[in-house]
């Protein structure tokens, strides 16, 4: 095996770096474009809360140091890049002296788990449905019933989330309203805890899966139909191969390639959508943390979460980019 070509690797890694840098730079610019001096605004907001926040002086000092108020912009920018690179995202304003990275690290596994699982389920089932719908020998009965699974496609995930909460949590009381596990339990490796996590995660996951599945199905169906006319499909049939083999090795195997590319392109949108789903379900992930940041005007927290989200998405895309050449041999040897 000759492996992945160097040019491809460099190109994709370059894209990864550019995306992360762009995210960082946006997070640097936005506060500085905001009307008024952001630090002054923050200080005054803190002053208003001074009665409650005891160490406000320390926060202000920390912030002055972090922003380097006196330093010229380019120096501030470089310092900011340096800090972010070391994953130092500053102090939360609402929960000083907790650092933003501490809070994010606590929330991240939930978001990561929910998002990865939901995306994988929705991608694979969507692909399967689309592949069957775009395959001529599929029985008529399946052909008629499968499109029903796509009826939530046009709806945003969080709206379906509200509906699901109302029906299954409020109405039927089958699932809990909020949280990631039952209140009495402590996170540990036990069946009881795992069951509780699944019980709590089911509704939010369903909201994401049911609304995104149809997009994959539609894309896959289109590719399968386009693929059916290809010469290699006709030759495969002429060879007298079993239909299942033609379906998987000649049909699905080729039609799935563009879906993987579009998965990489839509991870950002999926992550964005799940923020609001978490907020609807009060799921203790980064989306809900973000909402708390908004409510508390906790700017360092908001920026930190968004920065981590951008990085996470960029990493996911980079991973897909690394996997892609393994399933499409035409990329592997490009420019060799």
């Amino acid at each position: 095996m000759r492996g992945i070509s160097k040019a491809y690797l460099i190109q994709r890694f370059g894209m990864f770096v550019i995306t992360v840098w762009l995210g960082l730079t946006l997070m640097f610019i936005i506060p500085r474009l905001a009307p008024g001096d952001p630090v002054a605004a923050m200080v005054s907001r803190l002053a208003a809360q001074a009665g409650r926040v005891e160490q406000s002086d320390q926060i202000i000092a920390a912030w002055r140091e972090r922003f380097g108020l006196d330093a010229p912009l380019p120096v501030q920018y470089l310092r900011y890049l340096h800090n972010s690179f070391r994953f130092r995202l500053g102090y939360s304003m609402a929960y000083f002296p907790t650092t933003v990275e501490e809070m994010i690290l606590r929330a991240m596994p939930w978001t990561f788990g929910l998002l990865t699982l939901a995306t994988l389920i929705s991608f694979t089932t969507g692909i399967a449905i689309g592949a069957l719908l775009g395959w001529r020998p599929t029985p008529r009965l399946l052909r008629m019933t499968l499109p029903l699974t796509m009826c939530f496609t046009a709806i945003p995930a969080f709206m379906l989330g509200i509906l699901l909460t109302y029906v299954f949590a409020f109405g039927l009381r089958l699932f809990p309203f909020a949280g990631a596990y039952a209140r009495g339990l402590a996170p540990e490796l036990s069946w009881e805890f795992a069951a509780s996590v699944i019980h709590h995660g089911a509704l939010p996951a369903c909201a994401v899966v049911l609304t995104s599945m149809g997009h994959w199905a539609l894309g896959m169906r289109a590719m399968m139909i386009g693929n059916a006319g290809e010469d290699y499909m006709i030759l495969a049939e002429a060879k007298g191969l079993r239909p299942a083999r033609i379906f998987w090795l000649y049909g699905v195997r080729n039609a799935i390639l563009p879906q993987v590319t579009s998965l990489a392109l839509s991870i950002g949108a999926i992550a964005g959508g799940s923020i609001i789903v978490e907020y609807i379900f009060t799921y203790p992930g980064m989306g809900y943390l973000l909402y708390q940041g908004i409510v508390n005007n906790d700017y360092p927290l908001i920026q930190g979460i968004v920065f981590v989200l951008i990085c996470g998405v960029a990493v996911a895309v980079f991973v897909i980019d690394l996997i892609y050449p393994l399933i499409d041999p035409r990329i592997r040897y490009e420019r060799q």
């Binding site: 495969a236 002429a238 007298g240 080729n254």
Partner: protein, 325 residues
């Protein structure tokens, strides 16, 4: 060749009728054609694009894509009617009995599978459990047969040139040594040098293995070189079928004459004839002979009645009203 000496029959097509169900009335893509193919013979099937030659080939393999549909006729291969086979029998019949060398080998190979696996695929689907080593040896043999080094088997299709891909397709077609191979314009997408190489490959294989072959194309030069007999199709109908020597020596149908005259020749300097008129519109054929609107010598009958295919000389069948006159 005398009728008494004809080698045994491999394929007999009787009154094959293919419709394309588009629009209000079906389009007749293949209009009740009949012909035979004998063992060890290369039959050339020629005509302009859209005349139904590829459709015929796909009908024989039962590979017509909708809206195409075989409406009538019989395709007999050693006494089995291909059109009546059930799904399992059809799968067993394909490739073992009739193999296909597809048109435009550019996209004929699955881009995500190694060549070796695609060859093995075809063999393994029909011969049960010959073992890895035997399979490997067989693939080596096949590669050798078409003059490709064995390491080509480890490559992916996009790493091969057009000629190499076409030769892989040829190797694949003869993998099970089927009695009949259909080659659908096997050289059309290749450059001249490679065309010749592939053509020699085909001839070589027929001579070694003795399969019958249907060679579809519009390159009359190639037909003259390779085929034993030539069948000429026009607007879905068979207009002339005769031994190659007779077709080129004494073409009878005006369309065949035009086809042959349109081939440039180095030896004889002549003005190239360009076809008058465009290919026929299958949705809207004239009531009489379909070729009448483009024919240089039409008579009173031509625009009224469709001429039947008749044996005008021994083994020389032709469909034209004007022949007797």
């Amino acid at each position: 060749m005398n009728p008494e000496q004809k080698p045994p029959l491999v394929l007999r097509i009787q009154d094959l009728l293919v419709h394309y169900d588009t629009g209000p009335a079906p389009v007749v893509a293949v209009n009740r054609i009949s012909f035979d193919v004998h063992r060890g013979e290369i039959l050339g099937l020629v005509g302009e694009s859209g005349c139904g030659k590829s459709t015929t080939a796909m009908a024989i393999l039962r590979l017509l894509q909708p809206p195409g549909r075989v409406v009538g006729g019989r395709v007999l291969l050693d006494d089995t009617d291909v059109l009546k086979l059930g799904p399992a029998a059809l799968r067993a019949f394909r490739w073992r009995r009739v193999a296909l060398i597809p048109q435009g080998a550019m996209n004929a190979l699955n881009p995500v599978m190694r060549i070796r696996r695609q060859l093995a695929d075809a063999i393994a689907a029909h011969a049960n459990a010959n073992g890895r080593a035997a399979l490997r040896a067989r693939i080596g043999e096949l590669m050798d047969l078409v003059g490709l080094p064995e390491r080509v088997g480890d490559l992916f299709p996009h790493e091969l040139s057009g000629g190499m891909k076409q030769r892989v397709c040829i190797a694949m077609a003869v993998a099970l040594n089927p009695p009949l191979v259909i080659a659908d314009e096997p050289t059309s997408a290749l450059d001249v040098v490679v065309q010749r190489l592939v053509a020699m490959n085909l001839l070589n294989i027929k001579n070694t293995l003795g399969n019958a072959m249907i060679l579809i194309g519009h390159d009359m030069g190639l037909m003259a070189q390779l085929t034993d007999r030539v069948a000429v199709m026009y607007a879905g109908a068979m207009v002339e079928i005769a031994p190659t020597r007779a077709i080129f020596g004494r073409p009878m149908h005006p369309y065949t004459q035009q086809l042959i005259e349109s081939v440039p020749s180095i030896k004889v300097k002549k003005a190239l004839r360009v076809f008058p008129g465009g290919p026929p519109d299958l949705r809207n054929l004239p009531p009489g002979c379909p070729f009448a609107p483009r024919c240089g010598c039409i008579g009173p009958q031509c625009e009224k009645k469709i001429p039947p295919l008749r044996e005008c000389a021994p083994n020389h069948w032709m469909a034209c009203h004007r022949h007797d006159e």
